[in-house]
Symmetry: C2
Subunit: 251 residues, 2 copies
DNA sequence: CAACCGCTGTGACCGGTATCACCACATCGA
DNA sequence: TCGATGTGGTGATACCGGTCACAGCGGTTG
Protein backbone atom coordinates (compact mmCIF):
# COMPACT_ATOMS: atom_id res chain seq x y z
CA UNK A 1 0.00 0.00 0.00
CA UNK A 2 1.25 3.43 -0.87
CA UNK A 3 0.59 6.66 0.93
CA UNK A 4 -1.07 9.34 -1.04
CA UNK A 5 -1.97 13.00 -0.68
CA UNK A 6 -5.56 13.75 -1.50
CA UNK A 7 -7.14 17.14 -1.95
CA UNK A 8 -5.97 20.20 -0.14
CA UNK A 9 -6.24 19.74 3.57
CA UNK A 10 -4.95 16.23 3.95
CA UNK A 11 -2.83 14.96 6.83
CA UNK A 12 -0.49 12.13 6.17
CA UNK A 13 -0.56 8.94 8.10
CA UNK A 14 2.70 7.21 9.07
CA UNK A 15 3.70 4.68 6.42
CA UNK A 16 2.59 1.11 6.93
CA UNK A 17 4.39 -2.14 6.14
CA UNK A 18 3.81 -2.91 2.52
CA UNK A 19 0.73 -4.85 1.60
CA UNK A 20 -0.14 -5.97 5.06
CA UNK A 21 -2.27 -3.33 6.48
CA UNK A 22 -5.51 -3.74 4.68
CA UNK A 23 -5.54 -7.41 5.54
CA UNK A 24 -4.73 -6.59 9.11
CA UNK A 25 -7.40 -3.93 9.36
CA UNK A 26 -9.77 -6.39 7.81
CA UNK A 27 -9.14 -8.93 10.47
CA UNK A 28 -9.57 -6.33 13.15
CA UNK A 29 -12.64 -4.84 11.57
CA UNK A 30 -15.63 -5.07 13.92
CA UNK A 31 -18.18 -5.44 11.14
CA UNK A 32 -16.07 -7.67 9.03
CA UNK A 33 -18.86 -9.39 7.20
CA UNK A 34 -20.26 -6.07 6.09
CA UNK A 35 -17.01 -4.99 4.58
CA UNK A 36 -16.97 -5.35 0.91
CA UNK A 37 -13.94 -7.38 0.10
CA UNK A 38 -12.85 -8.94 3.33
CA UNK A 39 -13.73 -12.54 2.68
CA UNK A 40 -12.18 -12.76 -0.73
CA UNK A 41 -9.53 -15.39 -1.42
CA UNK A 42 -6.08 -14.49 -0.19
CA UNK A 43 -4.77 -13.57 -3.63
CA UNK A 44 -7.59 -11.10 -4.15
CA UNK A 45 -6.91 -9.33 -0.90
CA UNK A 46 -3.25 -9.10 -1.70
CA UNK A 47 -3.92 -7.60 -5.10
CA UNK A 48 -6.36 -5.20 -3.52
CA UNK A 49 -3.74 -4.07 -1.04
CA UNK A 50 -1.37 -3.30 -3.87
CA UNK A 51 -3.72 -0.89 -5.59
CA UNK A 52 -4.94 0.75 -2.41
CA UNK A 53 -3.56 3.94 -0.96
CA UNK A 54 -4.53 5.21 2.42
CA UNK A 55 -4.94 8.69 3.84
CA UNK A 56 -6.45 10.40 6.83
CA UNK A 57 -8.67 13.43 6.64
CA UNK A 58 -9.42 16.09 9.24
CA UNK A 59 -12.87 17.38 10.05
CA UNK A 60 -14.06 19.57 7.20
CA UNK A 61 -11.97 17.93 4.49
CA UNK A 62 -13.65 17.02 1.27
CA UNK A 63 -13.20 13.65 -0.38
CA UNK A 64 -14.95 14.60 -3.57
CA UNK A 65 -17.44 17.10 -4.91
CA UNK A 66 -20.64 16.59 -6.82
CA UNK A 67 -20.08 16.90 -10.56
CA UNK A 68 -16.33 16.59 -10.18
CA UNK A 69 -14.48 14.36 -12.58
CA UNK A 70 -14.26 10.95 -11.14
CA UNK A 71 -11.07 9.58 -9.64
CA UNK A 72 -11.99 6.38 -7.86
CA UNK A 73 -13.52 4.87 -4.76
CA UNK A 74 -12.88 5.58 -1.11
CA UNK A 75 -13.30 2.85 1.43
CA UNK A 76 -14.08 4.45 4.74
CA UNK A 77 -12.08 2.83 7.54
CA UNK A 78 -13.17 4.98 10.39
CA UNK A 79 -14.75 8.33 11.04
CA UNK A 80 -17.88 9.75 9.48
CA UNK A 81 -18.48 11.30 6.11
CA UNK A 82 -21.45 13.42 5.09
CA UNK A 83 -22.89 12.73 1.66
CA UNK A 84 -24.88 15.57 0.18
CA UNK A 85 -26.16 17.06 -3.03
CA UNK A 86 -26.93 20.65 -3.92
CA UNK A 87 -29.56 22.12 -6.16
CA UNK A 88 -29.13 25.00 -8.58
CA UNK A 89 -30.49 27.54 -6.10
CA UNK A 90 -27.99 26.58 -3.43
CA UNK A 91 -30.14 24.45 -1.21
CA UNK A 92 -28.47 21.35 0.14
CA UNK A 93 -29.87 17.91 0.74
CA UNK A 94 -27.88 15.57 2.94
CA UNK A 95 -28.48 12.00 1.93
CA UNK A 96 -26.79 10.22 4.71
CA UNK A 97 -23.82 10.03 7.00
CA UNK A 98 -21.54 7.25 5.86
CA UNK A 99 -20.17 4.93 8.53
CA UNK A 100 -16.94 2.90 8.56
CA UNK A 101 -16.96 0.04 6.09
CA UNK A 102 -18.87 1.88 3.42
CA UNK A 103 -17.48 2.37 -0.03
CA UNK A 104 -17.91 5.91 -1.27
CA UNK A 105 -18.08 6.95 -4.89
CA UNK A 106 -18.92 3.46 -5.97
CA UNK A 107 -21.82 4.24 -8.34
CA UNK A 108 -19.87 6.95 -10.09
CA UNK A 109 -16.83 4.73 -10.38
CA UNK A 110 -18.57 1.81 -11.99
CA UNK A 111 -20.63 3.94 -14.36
CA UNK A 112 -17.81 6.33 -15.21
CA UNK A 113 -19.95 9.40 -14.67
CA UNK A 114 -18.89 12.30 -12.45
CA UNK A 115 -19.45 11.96 -8.71
CA UNK A 116 -23.13 12.37 -8.03
CA UNK A 117 -22.66 13.51 -4.44
CA UNK A 118 -20.35 15.57 -2.30
CA UNK A 119 -18.47 13.84 0.49
CA UNK A 120 -17.41 15.96 3.46
CA UNK A 121 -15.63 14.64 6.52
CA UNK A 122 -17.58 15.32 9.71
CA UNK A 123 -15.54 13.15 12.04
CA UNK A 124 -11.81 12.73 11.40
CA UNK A 125 -11.57 9.81 9.03
CA UNK A 126 -9.24 7.35 7.50
CA UNK A 127 -10.02 6.09 4.03
CA UNK A 128 -8.45 3.81 1.47
CA UNK A 129 -8.45 5.07 -2.07
CA UNK A 130 -8.46 2.99 -5.23
CA UNK A 131 -8.33 4.64 -8.63
CA UNK A 132 -11.05 3.85 -11.11
CA UNK A 133 -8.85 2.12 -13.64
CA UNK A 134 -7.29 -0.16 -11.08
CA UNK A 135 -10.58 -0.80 -9.38
CA UNK A 136 -12.30 -1.82 -12.59
CA UNK A 137 -9.37 -3.98 -13.54
CA UNK A 138 -9.59 -5.67 -10.20
CA UNK A 139 -13.29 -6.30 -10.62
CA UNK A 140 -12.73 -7.82 -14.02
CA UNK A 141 -10.17 -10.20 -12.59
CA UNK A 142 -12.25 -11.13 -9.59
CA UNK A 143 -15.78 -11.92 -10.66
CA UNK A 144 -17.03 -12.52 -7.16
CA UNK A 145 -15.84 -9.09 -6.11
CA UNK A 146 -17.90 -7.58 -8.92
CA UNK A 147 -20.92 -9.40 -7.62
CA UNK A 148 -20.23 -8.09 -4.15
CA UNK A 149 -20.04 -4.59 -5.58
CA UNK A 150 -23.39 -5.08 -7.26
CA UNK A 151 -24.83 -6.07 -3.92
CA UNK A 152 -23.50 -2.96 -2.24
CA UNK A 153 -24.99 -0.86 -4.97
CA UNK A 154 -28.30 -2.60 -4.63
CA UNK A 155 -28.38 -1.86 -0.95
CA UNK A 156 -27.41 1.75 -1.39
CA UNK A 157 -30.17 2.04 -3.92
CA UNK A 158 -32.61 0.47 -1.56
CA UNK A 159 -31.82 2.92 1.19
CA UNK A 160 -32.14 5.75 -1.30
CA UNK A 161 -35.64 4.56 -2.10
CA UNK A 162 -36.58 4.46 1.56
CA UNK A 163 -35.17 7.93 2.02
CA UNK A 164 -37.10 9.13 -0.96
CA UNK A 165 -40.38 7.79 0.26
CA UNK A 166 -39.81 9.52 3.55
CA UNK A 167 -39.06 12.85 2.04
CA UNK A 168 -41.36 12.69 -0.94
CA UNK A 169 -44.47 11.42 0.71
CA UNK A 170 -44.69 13.10 4.05
CA UNK A 171 -44.92 16.82 3.90
CA UNK A 172 -45.17 17.07 7.65
CA UNK A 173 -41.94 18.22 9.23
CA UNK A 174 -42.67 16.56 12.56
CA UNK A 175 -43.08 13.17 10.88
CA UNK A 176 -39.85 13.55 9.02
CA UNK A 177 -37.92 14.65 12.07
CA UNK A 178 -39.34 11.83 14.17
CA UNK A 179 -38.40 9.33 11.51
CA UNK A 180 -34.93 10.78 11.26
CA UNK A 181 -34.38 10.51 14.99
CA UNK A 182 -35.59 6.94 15.05
CA UNK A 183 -33.13 6.01 12.36
CA UNK A 184 -30.22 7.13 14.49
CA UNK A 185 -30.19 3.70 16.08
CA UNK A 186 -26.67 2.74 14.95
CA UNK A 187 -25.30 5.40 17.24
CA UNK A 188 -27.51 4.66 20.22
CA UNK A 189 -26.74 3.32 23.65
CA UNK A 190 -29.13 2.65 26.49
CA UNK A 191 -29.22 4.90 29.52
CA UNK A 192 -31.38 4.69 32.59
CA UNK A 193 -33.69 7.46 31.45
CA UNK A 194 -34.00 6.47 27.82
CA UNK A 195 -32.04 5.84 24.69
CA UNK A 196 -28.97 8.00 24.40
CA UNK A 197 -27.81 9.04 20.98
CA UNK A 198 -24.75 11.00 20.10
CA UNK A 199 -25.78 13.64 17.60
CA UNK A 200 -23.14 16.02 16.35
CA UNK A 201 -25.22 17.57 13.59
CA UNK A 202 -26.42 21.15 13.81
CA UNK A 203 -30.07 22.03 13.40
CA UNK A 204 -29.20 23.39 10.00
CA UNK A 205 -27.77 20.07 8.92
CA UNK A 206 -30.69 18.12 10.28
CA UNK A 207 -32.95 20.44 8.33
CA UNK A 208 -31.02 19.62 5.20
CA UNK A 209 -31.39 15.94 5.87
CA UNK A 210 -35.15 16.00 6.21
CA UNK A 211 -35.85 18.74 3.68
CA UNK A 212 -37.04 21.46 6.02
CA UNK A 213 -35.85 24.84 7.23
CA UNK A 214 -33.53 25.39 10.14
CA UNK A 215 -36.17 27.24 12.15
CA UNK A 216 -38.77 24.52 11.94
CA UNK A 217 -36.24 21.99 13.15
CA UNK A 218 -35.55 24.17 16.15
CA UNK A 219 -39.26 24.53 16.78
CA UNK A 220 -39.92 20.83 16.42
CA UNK A 221 -37.18 20.10 18.92
CA UNK A 222 -38.73 22.52 21.36
CA UNK A 223 -42.08 20.88 20.77
CA UNK A 224 -40.71 17.38 21.35
CA UNK A 225 -39.02 18.50 24.53
CA UNK A 226 -42.24 20.00 25.80
CA UNK A 227 -44.02 16.74 25.08
CA UNK A 228 -41.46 14.86 27.19
CA UNK A 229 -40.24 12.90 24.20
CA UNK A 230 -36.73 14.24 24.08
CA UNK A 231 -34.03 15.75 26.17
CA UNK A 232 -30.82 17.31 24.96
CA UNK A 233 -27.61 17.41 26.95
CA UNK A 234 -24.81 18.92 24.97
CA UNK A 235 -24.27 16.75 21.94
CA UNK A 236 -26.12 13.75 23.32
CA UNK A 237 -29.78 13.32 22.70
CA UNK A 238 -31.95 11.31 25.03
CA UNK A 239 -35.06 9.73 23.63
CA UNK A 240 -37.31 9.42 26.63
CA UNK A 241 -40.38 8.14 24.88
CA UNK A 242 -39.57 6.14 21.82
CA UNK A 243 -43.10 4.85 21.43
CA UNK A 244 -44.51 8.34 21.19
CA UNK A 245 -41.84 9.31 18.72
CA UNK A 246 -42.68 6.28 16.64
CA UNK A 247 -46.36 7.14 16.67
CA UNK A 248 -45.56 10.62 15.42
CA UNK A 249 -43.44 9.11 12.70
CA UNK A 250 -46.19 6.78 11.62
CA UNK A 251 -49.03 9.26 11.32
CA UNK B 1 -36.26 -20.36 -23.82
CA UNK B 2 -39.28 -21.68 -22.02
CA UNK B 3 -42.64 -20.06 -21.72
CA UNK B 4 -43.84 -19.33 -18.27
CA UNK B 5 -47.00 -18.14 -16.57
CA UNK B 6 -46.42 -15.21 -14.29
CA UNK B 7 -48.85 -13.75 -11.80
CA UNK B 8 -52.57 -13.71 -12.32
CA UNK B 9 -53.47 -11.84 -15.45
CA UNK B 10 -50.84 -13.09 -17.82
CA UNK B 11 -51.30 -13.74 -21.50
CA UNK B 12 -49.12 -16.32 -23.10
CA UNK B 13 -46.99 -15.64 -26.07
CA UNK B 14 -46.62 -18.29 -28.80
CA UNK B 15 -43.63 -20.52 -28.11
CA UNK B 16 -40.38 -19.62 -29.78
CA UNK B 17 -37.66 -21.82 -31.24
CA UNK B 18 -35.40 -22.91 -28.45
CA UNK B 19 -32.50 -20.70 -27.53
CA UNK B 20 -32.69 -18.44 -30.49
CA UNK B 21 -35.11 -15.79 -29.64
CA UNK B 22 -33.24 -13.69 -27.18
CA UNK B 23 -30.34 -13.46 -29.56
CA UNK B 24 -32.66 -12.60 -32.35
CA UNK B 25 -34.46 -9.97 -30.32
CA UNK B 26 -31.11 -8.65 -29.32
CA UNK B 27 -30.04 -8.20 -32.86
CA UNK B 28 -33.27 -6.47 -33.66
CA UNK B 29 -33.20 -4.37 -30.57
CA UNK B 30 -33.19 -0.66 -31.44
CA UNK B 31 -31.14 0.39 -28.43
CA UNK B 32 -28.89 -2.56 -28.53
CA UNK B 33 -25.94 -0.99 -26.82
CA UNK B 34 -28.08 -0.02 -23.87
CA UNK B 35 -29.28 -3.54 -23.31
CA UNK B 36 -27.56 -5.21 -20.52
CA UNK B 37 -26.22 -8.42 -21.91
CA UNK B 38 -26.35 -8.04 -25.63
CA UNK B 39 -22.68 -7.79 -26.38
CA UNK B 40 -21.57 -10.70 -24.32
CA UNK B 41 -19.63 -13.54 -25.93
CA UNK B 42 -21.77 -16.02 -27.83
CA UNK B 43 -21.64 -18.66 -25.12
CA UNK B 44 -22.93 -16.23 -22.55
CA UNK B 45 -25.89 -15.27 -24.63
CA UNK B 46 -26.73 -18.86 -25.25
CA UNK B 47 -26.62 -19.68 -21.57
CA UNK B 48 -28.73 -16.64 -20.86
CA UNK B 49 -31.34 -17.79 -23.33
CA UNK B 50 -31.57 -21.13 -21.56
CA UNK B 51 -32.46 -19.63 -18.23
CA UNK B 52 -34.81 -17.00 -19.60
CA UNK B 53 -38.54 -17.35 -19.85
CA UNK B 54 -40.69 -14.87 -21.66
CA UNK B 55 -44.21 -13.62 -21.10
CA UNK B 56 -46.45 -10.80 -22.21
CA UNK B 57 -48.51 -8.71 -19.87
CA UNK B 58 -51.65 -6.65 -20.49
CA UNK B 59 -52.21 -3.12 -19.28
CA UNK B 60 -52.79 -3.19 -15.55
CA UNK B 61 -50.87 -6.37 -14.88
CA UNK B 62 -48.41 -6.41 -12.03
CA UNK B 63 -44.93 -7.82 -12.37
CA UNK B 64 -44.14 -7.63 -8.70
CA UNK B 65 -45.22 -5.84 -5.57
CA UNK B 66 -43.21 -3.89 -3.03
CA UNK B 67 -42.26 -6.05 -0.08
CA UNK B 68 -43.08 -9.22 -1.94
CA UNK B 69 -40.67 -12.12 -1.68
CA UNK B 70 -38.23 -11.90 -4.47
CA UNK B 71 -38.40 -14.17 -7.48
CA UNK B 72 -35.97 -12.77 -10.01
CA UNK B 73 -35.39 -10.11 -12.62
CA UNK B 74 -37.54 -8.99 -15.50
CA UNK B 75 -35.94 -7.68 -18.63
CA UNK B 76 -38.40 -5.38 -20.30
CA UNK B 77 -38.51 -6.01 -24.05
CA UNK B 78 -41.21 -3.59 -25.00
CA UNK B 79 -44.05 -1.66 -23.44
CA UNK B 80 -43.91 0.53 -20.37
CA UNK B 81 -43.87 -0.35 -16.71
CA UNK B 82 -44.60 1.98 -13.83
CA UNK B 83 -42.34 1.69 -10.80
CA UNK B 84 -43.83 2.98 -7.59
CA UNK B 85 -43.62 2.79 -3.84
CA UNK B 86 -46.31 3.32 -1.23
CA UNK B 87 -46.09 4.79 2.24
CA UNK B 88 -47.83 3.49 5.33
CA UNK B 89 -50.69 5.95 4.95
CA UNK B 90 -51.48 4.87 1.43
CA UNK B 91 -49.87 7.64 -0.53
CA UNK B 92 -48.03 6.57 -3.65
CA UNK B 93 -44.83 7.85 -5.16
CA UNK B 94 -44.06 6.89 -8.73
CA UNK B 95 -40.33 6.72 -9.26
CA UNK B 96 -40.23 6.35 -12.96
CA UNK B 97 -41.69 4.71 -16.01
CA UNK B 98 -39.38 1.98 -17.18
CA UNK B 99 -38.66 1.79 -20.90
CA UNK B 100 -37.68 -1.20 -23.03
CA UNK B 101 -34.22 -2.52 -22.29
CA UNK B 102 -34.40 -1.89 -18.59
CA UNK B 103 -33.90 -4.65 -16.09
CA UNK B 104 -36.49 -4.57 -13.34
CA UNK B 105 -36.03 -5.98 -9.89
CA UNK B 106 -32.28 -5.94 -10.25
CA UNK B 107 -31.36 -4.36 -6.89
CA UNK B 108 -33.61 -6.72 -4.98
CA UNK B 109 -32.31 -9.70 -6.89
CA UNK B 110 -28.67 -9.06 -6.23
CA UNK B 111 -29.15 -8.16 -2.59
CA UNK B 112 -31.68 -10.89 -1.87
CA UNK B 113 -34.08 -8.52 -0.16
CA UNK B 114 -37.76 -8.27 -1.05
CA UNK B 115 -38.72 -6.13 -4.01
CA UNK B 116 -38.38 -2.51 -3.01
CA UNK B 117 -40.85 -1.23 -5.59
CA UNK B 118 -44.07 -2.17 -7.27
CA UNK B 119 -44.06 -2.70 -11.03
CA UNK B 120 -47.32 -2.16 -12.89
CA UNK B 121 -47.73 -2.46 -16.62
CA UNK B 122 -49.03 0.76 -18.17
CA UNK B 123 -48.48 -0.15 -21.81
CA UNK B 124 -48.82 -3.80 -22.87
CA UNK B 125 -45.43 -5.29 -22.33
CA UNK B 126 -43.27 -8.24 -23.07
CA UNK B 127 -40.66 -9.19 -20.53
CA UNK B 128 -38.09 -11.89 -20.06
CA UNK B 129 -37.88 -13.41 -16.62
CA UNK B 130 -34.85 -14.96 -14.98
CA UNK B 131 -35.07 -16.51 -11.53
CA UNK B 132 -32.75 -15.23 -8.85
CA UNK B 133 -30.82 -18.45 -8.41
CA UNK B 134 -30.15 -18.85 -12.09
CA UNK B 135 -29.36 -15.21 -12.53
CA UNK B 136 -26.82 -15.18 -9.73
CA UNK B 137 -25.29 -18.36 -11.04
CA UNK B 138 -24.99 -16.78 -14.42
CA UNK B 139 -23.30 -13.71 -12.97
CA UNK B 140 -20.82 -15.84 -11.12
CA UNK B 141 -19.89 -17.65 -14.29
CA UNK B 142 -19.65 -14.51 -16.36
CA UNK B 143 -17.66 -11.88 -14.52
CA UNK B 144 -18.09 -9.24 -17.16
CA UNK B 145 -21.85 -9.59 -16.92
CA UNK B 146 -21.63 -8.91 -13.20
CA UNK B 147 -19.71 -5.77 -13.93
CA UNK B 148 -22.35 -4.75 -16.40
CA UNK B 149 -24.99 -5.32 -13.75
CA UNK B 150 -23.08 -3.12 -11.35
CA UNK B 151 -23.06 -0.39 -13.96
CA UNK B 152 -26.80 -0.61 -14.45
CA UNK B 153 -27.28 -0.37 -10.72
CA UNK B 154 -25.01 2.61 -10.54
CA UNK B 155 -27.02 4.38 -13.16
CA UNK B 156 -30.32 3.56 -11.54
CA UNK B 157 -28.92 4.92 -8.33
CA UNK B 158 -27.78 8.04 -10.04
CA UNK B 159 -31.19 8.73 -11.48
CA UNK B 160 -32.71 8.10 -8.07
CA UNK B 161 -30.45 10.79 -6.65
CA UNK B 162 -31.47 13.26 -9.31
CA UNK B 163 -35.11 12.45 -8.66
CA UNK B 164 -34.55 12.92 -4.99
CA UNK B 165 -32.96 16.29 -5.37
CA UNK B 166 -35.88 17.40 -7.47
CA UNK B 167 -38.49 16.27 -5.02
CA UNK B 168 -36.63 16.96 -1.81
CA UNK B 169 -35.28 20.38 -2.54
CA UNK B 170 -37.99 22.21 -4.41
CA UNK B 171 -41.15 22.59 -2.49
CA UNK B 172 -42.71 24.51 -5.30
CA UNK B 173 -45.13 22.43 -7.31
CA UNK B 174 -44.72 24.50 -10.47
CA UNK B 175 -40.99 23.87 -10.47
CA UNK B 176 -41.43 20.18 -10.00
CA UNK B 177 -44.02 19.92 -12.73
CA UNK B 178 -41.95 21.96 -15.16
CA UNK B 179 -38.96 19.77 -14.49
CA UNK B 180 -41.02 16.67 -14.96
CA UNK B 181 -42.31 17.86 -18.30
CA UNK B 182 -38.84 18.74 -19.49
CA UNK B 183 -37.65 15.26 -18.67
CA UNK B 184 -40.18 13.72 -21.00
CA UNK B 185 -37.72 14.22 -23.83
CA UNK B 186 -37.29 10.52 -24.68
CA UNK B 187 -40.86 10.49 -25.88
CA UNK B 188 -40.74 13.75 -27.76
CA UNK B 189 -41.04 14.55 -31.46
CA UNK B 190 -40.88 17.92 -33.11
CA UNK B 191 -44.00 19.54 -34.53
CA UNK B 192 -44.35 22.86 -36.26
CA UNK B 193 -45.88 24.54 -33.23
CA UNK B 194 -43.56 23.11 -30.61
CA UNK B 195 -42.32 19.88 -29.11
CA UNK B 196 -44.93 17.17 -29.11
CA UNK B 197 -44.88 14.65 -26.31
CA UNK B 198 -47.10 11.63 -25.91
CA UNK B 199 -48.25 11.60 -22.32
CA UNK B 200 -50.59 8.83 -21.26
CA UNK B 201 -50.41 9.51 -17.55
CA UNK B 202 -53.38 10.90 -15.69
CA UNK B 203 -53.09 14.01 -13.57
CA UNK B 204 -53.29 11.79 -10.54
CA UNK B 205 -50.27 9.81 -11.69
CA UNK B 206 -48.29 12.90 -12.55
CA UNK B 207 -49.08 14.16 -9.09
CA UNK B 208 -47.68 10.97 -7.64
CA UNK B 209 -44.53 11.36 -9.65
CA UNK B 210 -43.77 14.86 -8.47
CA UNK B 211 -45.10 14.51 -4.95
CA UNK B 212 -48.09 16.79 -5.19
CA UNK B 213 -51.87 16.52 -5.11
CA UNK B 214 -54.03 15.82 -8.12
CA UNK B 215 -55.74 19.18 -7.92
CA UNK B 216 -52.56 21.22 -7.95
CA UNK B 217 -51.40 19.36 -11.04
CA UNK B 218 -54.65 20.27 -12.75
CA UNK B 219 -54.26 23.87 -11.65
CA UNK B 220 -50.66 24.05 -12.76
CA UNK B 221 -51.63 22.72 -16.17
CA UNK B 222 -54.30 25.36 -16.45
CA UNK B 223 -51.77 27.95 -15.43
CA UNK B 224 -49.20 26.79 -17.98
CA UNK B 225 -51.83 26.82 -20.69
CA UNK B 226 -52.84 30.34 -19.78
CA UNK B 227 -49.20 31.41 -19.99
CA UNK B 228 -48.93 29.98 -23.52
CA UNK B 229 -46.38 27.40 -22.44
CA UNK B 230 -48.41 24.31 -23.11
CA UNK B 231 -51.23 22.96 -25.17
CA UNK B 232 -52.99 19.66 -24.73
CA UNK B 233 -54.63 17.72 -27.53
CA UNK B 234 -55.95 14.41 -26.32
CA UNK B 235 -53.02 12.43 -25.04
CA UNK B 236 -50.38 14.51 -26.78
CA UNK B 237 -48.87 17.45 -25.07
CA UNK B 238 -47.38 20.31 -27.01
CA UNK B 239 -44.65 22.33 -25.38
CA UNK B 240 -44.92 25.68 -27.08
CA UNK B 241 -42.36 27.55 -25.07
CA UNK B 242 -39.64 25.32 -23.79
CA UNK B 243 -37.44 28.21 -22.69
CA UNK B 244 -40.13 29.55 -20.41
CA UNK B 245 -40.74 26.11 -19.01
CA UNK B 246 -37.04 25.73 -18.35
CA UNK B 247 -36.90 29.06 -16.57
CA UNK B 248 -39.75 27.99 -14.31
CA UNK B 249 -37.93 24.76 -13.60
CA UNK B 250 -34.76 26.59 -12.72
CA UNK B 251 -36.12 29.11 -10.29
C1' DC C 1 -81.06 4.66 -22.52
C1' DA C 2 -79.79 5.35 -17.80
C1' DA C 3 -76.46 4.44 -14.50
C1' DC C 4 -72.07 4.42 -13.33
C1' DC C 5 -67.22 5.19 -13.33
C1' DG C 6 -62.81 7.54 -13.78
C1' DC C 7 -60.89 11.83 -15.09
C1' DT C 8 -60.64 16.80 -15.30
C1' DG C 9 -61.75 21.34 -13.68
C1' DT C 10 -62.83 24.90 -9.97
C1' DG C 11 -64.03 27.35 -5.74
C1' DA C 12 -63.46 27.92 -0.69
C1' DC C 13 -60.95 27.24 3.26
C1' DC C 14 -57.25 26.82 6.41
C1' DG C 15 -53.14 24.91 8.32
C1' DG C 16 -48.23 24.18 8.15
C1' DT C 17 -44.04 26.10 7.08
C1' DA C 18 -40.87 29.10 4.71
C1' DT C 19 -39.13 33.49 5.25
C1' DC C 20 -37.55 37.57 7.49
C1' DA C 21 -35.97 39.91 11.39
C1' DC C 22 -33.98 39.89 15.59
C1' DC C 23 -31.88 38.40 20.03
C1' DA C 24 -28.97 35.56 23.14
C1' DC C 25 -25.35 32.91 23.71
C1' DA C 26 -21.14 30.38 23.10
C1' DT C 27 -16.51 29.89 20.99
C1' DC C 28 -12.41 31.52 18.99
C1' DG C 29 -8.70 34.24 17.32
C1' DA C 30 -6.63 38.63 16.95
C1' DT D 1 -10.66 42.24 25.59
C1' DC D 2 -13.40 42.78 21.88
C1' DG D 3 -15.37 41.88 17.67
C1' DA D 4 -16.46 38.10 14.45
C1' DT D 5 -18.73 34.08 13.62
C1' DG D 6 -21.66 30.11 14.11
C1' DT D 7 -25.50 28.34 16.48
C1' DG D 8 -29.94 28.09 18.95
C1' DG D 9 -34.33 30.24 19.98
C1' DT D 10 -38.62 33.02 18.99
C1' DG D 11 -42.24 36.08 17.04
C1' DA D 12 -44.90 37.95 13.03
C1' DT D 13 -46.44 37.35 8.53
C1' DA D 14 -47.55 35.66 4.00
C1' DC D 15 -48.65 32.18 1.10
C1' DC D 16 -48.41 27.86 -1.08
C1' DG D 17 -50.72 23.89 -1.57
C1' DG D 18 -53.45 20.07 0.67
C1' DT D 19 -58.10 18.88 1.49
C1' DC D 20 -63.04 18.86 0.82
C1' DA D 21 -66.93 19.44 -2.01
C1' DC D 22 -69.06 19.47 -6.10
C1' DA D 23 -69.89 19.88 -11.11
C1' DG D 24 -69.19 18.68 -15.89
C1' DC D 25 -67.88 15.12 -19.23
C1' DG D 26 -66.57 11.32 -21.97
C1' DG D 27 -66.45 6.38 -21.76
C1' DT D 28 -68.38 1.77 -20.77
C1' DT D 29 -71.74 -1.53 -19.36
C1' DG D 30 -75.83 -3.52 -18.33
Amino acid sequence: MKERTVGLETFMRPPAPYGLEIIESCVKCPHREERLFCNLPEAGIKRLAEITSSATYPRGATLFVEGQALRGVFILCNGQVKLSTTSADGKTLILRIAEPGEVLGLPATVTGKPYELTADVVEPSQANFISRAEFLGFLREHGDAALRVAQQLGETYHSAIVEMRNIGLSHSASKKLARFLLELSPRETNGKDGIRVKLTLTHEEIAQMIGASRETVTRMFADFKKKQILEVKGSTLIIKNKAKLASIARE
